[in-house]
Symmetry: C2
Subunit: 230 residues, 2 copies
C-alpha cells in the first residue's frame, strides 16, 4: 500500500478529436438484429471487446461477470427455439394494432450472427459481504450491465454489431447452458460484423416509439411535484 499516493496520476479531459470519438460510439451504437455478416469475429477483436467488458466498474471490485461464447449452430438453434416460444407468448400481450407491428419486427439475430455471448452474474463472487452491496444487493447485477454497455461501445468502434435478446425464459436458457443456480443470466447477445446500421434506433425508425424530450426527464433537486406519473 506504499504506492497508494503515487498511483494518482494527472487526468486531463480528452482532446476534441478523442472526445468526438467517444460520442461517436455512444450516438451510433445500435441494437442490431438483422445487419450481421457471416464472417467470424477475429480473436484479436473479440479479445479487445471482452477486455473492455472486464474493465467495467464493479461494486466492491467484485467483477461478478462471466462470458459464455456460443458459436455452435446446434446450440444456437436450441436458443432460437426458446426465443420463438417466448416471442409467441409476448406477441399475444399487445393490443391488436400493436401486435401487427410487433410481429413484423425482427427482434433477434441468434442464427444470423456468427457469435452469441451469454453474460452472467455470479451472485456469490466477492464473498459473503461485498463492499457496497449491504443495502443495495442488486449492485452486482448493475455492475454486469455496465460490462455489457462497455462491450457494446467497444464493438461499435471495432465495426462489430451487437444485439441484446431478452425474449426467453430464464430457467430454460439456464438449463440449456448448464448455468448453476447462484449465477444469474443478465444478457444474451448476438455479435457479428456489420456494414450497415440504422441512423436512428430501429424501433424509432419503424414507428414503435419516439425519443422523449430531454427536458422532460431532467429535473432540479427532487422529483417534480407535477409529475407523479409519466
Amino acid at each position: 500500500m506504499s504506492d497508494t499516493k503515487s498511483s494518482l496520476k494527472p487526468a486531463a479531459g480528452f482532446s476534441e478529436a478523442e472526445r468526438d470519438a467517444v460520442y461517436k460510439a455512444i450516438f451510433n451504437r445500435r441494437d442490431v438484429r438483422d445487419q450481421f455478416l457471416p464472417d467470424p469475429v477475429a480473436p484479436g477483436v473479440l479479445d479487445r471487446i471482452l477486455t473492455a467488458a472486464h474493465h467495467a466498474p464493479s461494486v466492491g471490485f467484485s467483477q461478478p461477470w462471466s462470458f459464455l461464447l456460443i458459436r455452435s449452430i446446434e446450440r444456437r438453434r436450441q436458443v432460437h427455439d426458446l426465443f420463438t416460444i417466448a416471442n409467441e407468448e409476448a406477441a399475444d400481450r399487445f393490443p391488436d394494432e400493436q401486435a401487427k407491428l410487433y410481429q413484423s419486427l425482427k427482434l433477434e439475430g441468434i442464427l444470423k450472427a456468427p457469435l452469441n455471448i451469454c453474460v452472467t452474474c455470479d451472485r456469490t463472487r466477492g464473498g459473503k459481504v461485498v463492499l457496497g452491496r449491504t443495502h443495495n444487493p442488486e449492485m452486482d447485477l448493475y455492475s454486469t450491465v455496465c460490462a455489457v454497455q462497455n462491450m457494446w461501445l467497444a464493438a461499435r468502434a471495432e465495426g462489430v454489431g451487437m444485439g441484446w435478446v431478452s425474449i426467453y425464459k430464464h430457467d430454460a436458457l439456464r438449463e440449456l447452458l448448464n448455468i448453476p443456480d447462484h449465477v444469474q443470466i443478465i444478457a444474451y447477445l448476438c455479435v457479428g460484423h456489420v456494414e450497415e446500421l440504422y441512423e436512428r434506433p430501429e424501433l424509432e425508425v419503424k414507428g414503435w416509439a419516439d425519443r422523449l424530450a430531454i427536458e422532460d426527464i431532467v429535473h432540479d433537486e427532487v422529483w417534480p411535484a407535477d409529475k407523479p406519473d409519466k
Copy 2:
C-alpha cells in the same frame, strides 16, 4: 415507415485513433470518491453528458430513465447523513481485519463533488406491455444502468469524474427526494471536474481485491462443469 430502408447507412469500424479514444475512456474511467475539484460543471458539458445517457439502449425504446440534478448543499448534507448511517451498519458486517481497511476507505464524494445526480427508472414508462420485458421484467432497470455507464464514459472524456454511491437505504433516499413508489432509484452519482485519477481501480490500489484473470471468466459454449462455484 416508407423511409425504413433508406435509414440504413454504411457503418464502418472506427479509425485506429477513434478506436483508441473509445478504449482510453473505457480503461481510464474510475469510480471517483475524493479527487473532485469544487468548480461547477459547465452547463454545456453537463448537457453533453446527459445527452449521452439519453442515447443508451433501452428495452422496447422505453427510455425509462430520469435524472435529478442535486446541487443544494443542505440537501447533499441530508444525503450524506443517510450514507453515514448506512455505512456504519455496513462496516459492522465485515470480519475484524477487513473492517479496519473498510473504515479507512473514502467511499463517497457527496459533499466534495459540486453536483450529485440521482438516476431513476420509471417502472411504468412505456405502458403496460413493453417490448422485450414480458419474460424479463428487470430489463428497464438494466437499460437505466446502461445510461449510467454512458454518462461515466462521456464524463471521463470531458475531464469530469463520477462516483457511484450505493451505501444508503432506498426508502430514506426516496423520501428525501420525493420519488414516487413506481419509480426506482438506480444510482446516486457524485460528479465534478478532476485533475488526478488513480491509474488502476482504487480498491485494487488499496489492496481490497485483485483483478481476476480474464481466462477464468470467459468460457466456450456452456458453463464449465468444473466451475460450479467461484
